[in-house]
């Protein structure tokens, strides 16, 4: 296990409000990591920073064995460096078929002229089939993504992440709005993905996090409050105070 992503001393201020405050997190490869924390803790903002959507005021974000800084890079460059992201609100291309959605995400040259010359290949089709199988949408490949159920859209978006073949997956609330059964399947997909890659999952649901059986990072007011196994952090007094205490009340 080696460090893949290192976020150190990062802070972000929105109109005077410090959403991220001296945050430091390290992710190894492969690793499955859960990030929890109350609403507004800065979980999504953390992902925004790593993926280049938000520029931090200070701190470092360093990537890979060559220790490349992600801070000067654009969103698309970061994505091509190997970071995939699933949004909190499922965002798939509703007017296009499930197959088209996956094909667009598939790891291939991204420039306009390569895309213009792009031809469907047997290899690409096989990859799409394999991913569709993994996310349970094999029978829905020709349907338009807008017709899928909420849970299926979430899976499709995870499938698009897998199609990108990234080294790091950032998954924001994948189980939101899912039934118990769907959640179980989602955990399986994520755990399998984490066998070969780094996967960071933001989730509110404790049962879901427990089933992931992984290291947990608790965020609060933009910095790390506690880190360790789920049992370890849930026994932590400061965590109980700010987070569990509140939700149990």
């Amino acid at each position: 296990m080696s460090t893949l992503l290192e976020v150190s001393g990062v802070s972000v201020t929105f109109d005077g409000f410090r959403a991220i405050n001296n945050l430091s997190i390290q992710i190894a490869e492969p690793e499955l990591r859960a990030v929890i924390g109350p609403n507004g803790a800065g979980k999504t903002t953390f992902m925004d920073i790593v993926t280049g959507k938000t520029r931090p005021d200070e701190g470092q974000v360093v990537w890979g064995e060559k220790n490349i800084s992600l801070l000067g890079m654009s969103e698309s460059q970061i994505a091509n460096a190997g970071i995939g992201r699933k949004f909190q609100k499922p965002t798939v291309f509703e007017d296009q078929s499930v197959r088209q959605n996956l094909a667009m995400a598939l790891k291939n040259p991204r420039g306009p002229f390569s895309v213009l010359r792009h031809r469907k290949t047997a290899d690409g089709a096989a990859k799409i089939e394999a991913i569709a199988d993994e996310i349970g949408l094999t029978d829905h490949l020709t349907r338009s993504a807008g017709e899928l159920s909420h849970g299926q859209k979430q899976w499709l978006e995870i499938g698009m992440l897998l199609a990108q073949d990234p080294r790091l997956l950032l998954v924001d609330e994948p189980a939101a709005g899912m039934t118990a059964q769907e959640r179980e399947k989602t955990t399986d997909i994520l755990k399998r993905a984490a066998e070969t890659r780094a996967v960071v999952v933001v989730e509110h649901d404790m049962e879901f996090v427990r089933r992931l059986e992984c290291k947990v990072t608790v965020l609060h007011e933009g910095s790390v409050l506690a880190e360790g196994s789920l049992d370890h952090v849930t026994k932590d007094q400061s965590v109980i105070d700010v987070y569990l205490g509140r939700s149990d009340a």
């Binding site: 654009s74 949004f87 509703e94 296009q96 995400a105 792009h118």
Partner: protein, 388 residues
């Protein structure tokens, strides 16, 4: 081009078939090549309409497919027209000057010829000097190159600046309006080098074909316009099929998501914007020889707004919708404003369509937007219902 492309897009075949039938019908009915039931001036109107259809499909690609509401594409149409107009005017004037100097005892020097042509062309703006931008006006090949290069470069530079700073939505639309307005105002000036508000005229006279009748010239332009529309249609349909179409429509629906998939969204927008600008330039270069005159009023901001209205009424995001919208609305417009529509006498008030047509168009636009967002082209969905 991929073998299965046409097979996967039956609407392309249908369109080409309809266009071919229409073109044949007009040819058979024309004065030049047929029985003479369709007048030459109407052939010109139809030929111009085909050019408007061509810029409309370009508009549909940039707006309906890529989500960029450009309200400046007529600037590219106009620059294409000016580019070909310069050669038409120069070459024709050169012919006239040469003829008038022929009988002289002492052969005129090249400088004298050049001065005479300059006086002929620029006399209306009180000048006889050739401005620098006319440097290639004597070469048809170079001016044809300008038809493609000038709109292309203008779009490339404008698009690069706008997309790079991530200007989107209404702000981008306003910026494109500003671009076409600025260009139009610049051309209105007498020292712009393009004859100010006089514009370029006499463009229907094709140098080298002085003895050919307008009936024949009009038919040739009509046919070339039809071929250009067919080629443009196939080009855009091909570009928008497959993965490029996926990415471009993805940008329309959720730009940020496409970015996080690793696509450099700005490059794609720039590609679409520039490609459609070039096609718009070609459409303009075919249009203005049929119109006979081009002046800066042609690229006033309102022209590009009409273009968006045509595409909206015809149906966005489907190329044949744009063709239907442009043909239907522009023909209807010339019927109403040309006095074709009978005035309606209400007793206390007489509706003159030359005044009221714009109101009717505006109301139709609002109704289509509110009640038929898919436009006229959406009616085809009822014809070809997918079996469910």
């Amino acid at each position: 081009m991929h073998k299965s492309f046409i097979f996967h897009n039956p609407s392309v075949l249908w369109f080409l078939l309809a266009l071919a039938l229409f073109t044949m019908a007009v040819t058979v009915l024309s004065e030049a090549f047929g029985v003479g039931l369709v007048s030459t001036s109407f052939v010109k109107t139809l030929g111009k309409t085909l050019c408007l259809c061509l810029i409309a499909i370009a508009m549909d690609v940039v707006w309906g497919y890529c989500g960029i509401l450009s309200l400046g594409h007529f600037a590219f149409f106009g620059t294409g027209g000016y580019a070909i107009g310069m050669w038409l005017m120069y070459a024709r004037t050169e012919g006239i000057v040469a003829a008038s100097l022929e009988g002289q005892a002492i052969p005129p020097t090249p400088q004298e010829i050049s001065d005479a042509i300059g006086t002929q062309i620029f006399g209306v703006v009180g000048s006889s000097e050739f401005p620098a931008i006319w440097a290639f006006a004597d070469s048809l090949v170079l001016q044809l190159l300008m038809v493609v290069l000038v709109p292309g470069l203008l779009a490339l530079v404008f698009g690069w600046l706008a997309f790079r700073s991530r200007v989107t939505g209404v702000y981008l639309s306003i910026l494109t309006q500003a671009m076409t307005l600025a260009l139009s105002l610049y051309l209105f000036q007498n020292d712009s080098g393009l004859r100010g508000n006089n514009g370029l005229s006499g463009l229907q006279n094709i140098p080298g074909f002085e003895d050919t009748s307008q009936a024949t010239i009009s038919m040739v332009f009509f046919l070339v316009s039809a071929i250009a529309l067919a080629a443009g249609y196939v080009l855009f349909a091909w570009v928008m099929s497959g993965k490029m179409g996926s990415v471009v429509q993805g940008i329309r629906d959720n730009e940020a998501r496409v970015r996080f998939l690793g696509y450099h969204v700005e490059s794609y927008k720039l590609f679409v914007f520039t490609l459609t600008a070039v096609i718009a330039g070609i459409a303009g270069a075919l249009y203005y020889p049929q119109a006979g005159i081009i002046n800066p009023a042609e690229i006033a901001p309102i022209a590009s707004i009409y273009l968006a209205v045509w595409v909206a009424i015809g149906g966005r995001g489907r190329l044949y919708g744009a063709v239907i919208g442009a043909a239907f609305v522009s023909l209807l417009s010339s019927w109403f404003t040309g006095g074709g529509a009978p005035a309606i006498n209400l007793g206390f008030y007489t509706i003159q369509w030359t005044d009221w047509w714009l109101v009717l168009l505006g109301v139709s636009f609002v109704c289509v937007t509110l009640f038929f967002p898919k436009g006229i082209g959406g009616l085809f969905d009822y014809l070809v219902r997918k079996p469910s």
